[in-house]
Symmetry: C2
């Protein structure tokens, strides 16, 4: 698998797991809706500015995003490490906004509690059939 195939694989999955490192140095994982947009090796998510993960990424941008597909006979997973940037600028918020988001962010696209997480892929590990493959993003 090369980095383009990794991007193709993750763009098909419905759930993303994202991980951060908290104040005490523990990893913290949680599920997210699938990425809103993927541009090159940048993967965009929307989230609440007030959430714990935003605090954690502002303190420590080291991050991981993980996607998996559990088929009947085959399990595939890809764990990508990289950095997570918290974007509160209006152009980025505009780019990611979708109709219906006011359900989550009452004040609309300028809601201060709406922000964007931009993950930049650095390297990936692809797991399939008990084998691991390492992939670099250039």
């Amino acid at each position: 698998m090369n980095s383009n195939e990794v991007i193709q694989f993750i763009s098909k999955q419905k759930t993303a797991i994202i991980a951060s490192v908290n104040e005490e140095g523990y990893p913290v994982a949680r599920a997210m809706l699938s990425p809103r947009k993927i541009v090159g090796k940048d993967v965009y998510f929307s989230t609440n500015t007030s959430s714990n993960k935003v605090k954690q990424y502002l303190d420590n941008p080291k991050a991981c995003i993980y996607f998996y597909k559990r088929g009947r006979f085959k399990y595939q997973g890809v764990s990508i490490t990289g950095t997570m940037q918290v974007c509160e600028d209006q152009p980025t918020k505009d780019m990611i906004w979708r109709f219906g988001d006011t359900l989550f962010y009452k004040k609309g696209v300028t809601d201060p509690d709406y922000c964007v997480l931009k993950f930049t892929c650095e390297q990936a590990e692809y797991y399939c059939d008990f084998k691991v493959e390492k992939i670099k993003f250039d």
Copy 2:
């Protein structure tokens, strides 16, 4: 949700996500089969001694296990931080071993590439309907 309810919730899910912190300080998440056994606040998994996660947990035992249930109308997730111990002693390996495991560990229950990960829960965050609840394990 209290700590007993957290244990009940996680014991019903088929996939666990476990996270570690790697040598460069990045969080790393990956899926695992559901826990083999849960005793009090100790959650047991089986794995390959040669895997990256074993190396990472020996260097840094800080860990997270995450479980989620994506229903039709409701999303529930629980992220538990705690410590991960790598157990290579025979009594623990015997306790976790199941018929059929020779498929993964050719040499059987004494296979040096078979070991046990024992996660001890410290605290949890339970996510449901856009709310977060913190739970302590005593």
